[in-house]
């Protein structure tokens, strides 16, 4: 159960280029932070470093639980949701299968997944193949696992991008509930998030 994310003096290098240096951030339970910065400044890389996919050159990433620091691997594998540009869906599988798999895989239950589907009004689409869904519908399907499998830390990479205004409002509600319930959100964004946030700047 993650109650805080600590990023200290982080530097990330991609190939020969150092994206940023001395980046520090602390996100506590009940807080949402928006990562802002120019394109290529390293927002996505920072999220992937927190998720453990990129190894930072210098710096430390730590997760605190109610009783002090948590083991990083367990914290990531039990407490982190990451939503990138790609939704991780297979075109030839049915929406219901992907929905249930993504939630079950992240520790949720089938019932919670279906409840999330109704919440994000995906019920009409359940028996379709993912192939026929629009980008916005696919993003909502991917978002379903955030509700279906409750995990404290959400790492979102431009979550609003493919969504229409109705869905953005819906996502705003979901995020607000998550933060109110003691969750943490770290989102890389270009357009502002529909909930009050603290912003963290990346890059020069």
């Amino acid at each position: 159960m993650i109650t805080a994310l600590n990023v200290e003096d982080l530097a990330i290098q991609r190939g020969e280029r150092v994206l940023f240096r001395h980046f520090g951030l602390r996100v506590v339970a009940g807080e949402a932070v928006a990562l802002v910065g120019a394109n290529g400044a390293g927002k996505t890389s920072l999220l992937r470093a927190v998720a453990g996919m990129i190894r930072p050159v210098i710096g430390r990433i730590g997760f605190d639980g109610p009783a002090g620091p948590l083991s990083i691997d367990d914290a990531r594998r039990q407490g982190c949701h990451m939503l990138g540009h790609y939704d991780g869906l297979k075109a030839n599988r049915h929406v219901r299968d992907e929905l249930v798999f993504q939630s079950r895989w992240c520790g949720g239950t089938a019932e919670a997944a279906l409840a999330a589907a109704t919440r994000l009004n995906l019920t009409r689409l359940l028996d379709l193949e993912v192939r026929v869904l629009s980008a916005g519908q696919r993003r909502r399907l991917a978002l379903a696992r955030l509700i279906g499998a409750p995990r404290p830390l959400w790492l979102l990479d431009e979550p609003l991008a493919p969504l229409d205004t109705v869905s953005r409002a819906l996502l705003g509600e979901v995020m607000a509930e998550h933060v109110a319930g003691g969750g943490l959100i770290l989102a890389a964004v270009h357009d502002p998030l529909p909930i009050p946030v603290r912003t963290a700047e990346i890059g020069q």
Binding site: R76, R77, M82, D87, Q102, R104
Partner: protein, 221 residues
């Protein structure tokens, strides 16, 4: 159903859908072996002499061809990131993927192997050994092929690259399998080569997941 079960079910359905399931693997297997008599001529004696060995080589190629994009599809559509953040480590995920691959296309190939070998002139009595050897060999081919597929992830060029990288590593199972079939048909002791084949296959099952997980993490970074 536990998380492992959820993943196994997903991987099985993906493996089934990916290569057109067993159809493509067995299809290639049959098509490639049909070429042999056309090329070598119908003389039964000549075909029978090579039947066991050729079946074995074509089985290896069929296994390699039917596993491409095993990791690449998940890597391209972002599912690999989701799998990496799941409760099971990538090593276990890779093992399940290879086992699914072995079950979905390895098993049908193992069933087809005796038929193809006998069709080429191998003694029908050898059929059970060919099946067992093809099954065990298929396991080694699935896991080493999976390693090649994971290594080729970062290169955007699967297919031939996987074959070039993996085929030299298949020397031991091809030798053990070929000798096991050869000895069985000619009445020589066949247990040793079979055990060596089984040993190699189990070694591959035990060790390659670490290489596969490392390669996946490398591609993700």
């Amino acid at each position: 159903m536990s998380v492992v079960g959820v993943l196994v079910r997903r991987e099985m359905s993906l493996a089934w859908a990916r290569g057109g399931g067993a159809l493509l693997a067995v299809g290639f297997f049959a098509a490639a072996t049909v070429m042999l008599p056309l090329a070598l001529g119908p003389a039964p004696a000549r075909l029978a002499a090579v039947s066991g060995g050729v079946t074995w080589v074509v089985l290896a190629l069929a296994s390699l061809l039917s596993l491409d994009r095993m990791f690449e599809r998940d890597f391209d559509d972002g599912a690999l990131d989701l799998l990496a953040l799941g409760p099971l480590p990538l090593e276990v995920v890779a093992t399940i993927k290879c086992l699914a691959q072995w079950t979905v296309s390895g098993a049908p190939l193992a069933l087809a192997a005796p038929i193809v070998a006998v069709a080429l002139g191998a003694k029908p009595a050898a059929a059970p050994m060919i099946f067992v050897a093809a099954g065990l060999g298929g396991l080694a081919f699935a896991f080493l092929g999976g390693t090649g597929a994971a290594l080729a992830l970062a290169s955007r060029r699967g297919g031939v690259l996987i074959a070039v990288v993996v085929l030299p590593l298949l020397t031991p199972p091809v030798i053990f399998g070929g000798v096991a079939i050869e000895n069985y048909t000619s009445g020589l002791p066949w247990l040793t080569p079979l055990c060596l084949l089984a040993g190699y296959a189990l070694g591959a099952v035990a060790l390659t997941p670490f290489a596969m997980a490392g390669a996946c993490r490398n591609a993700q970074s």
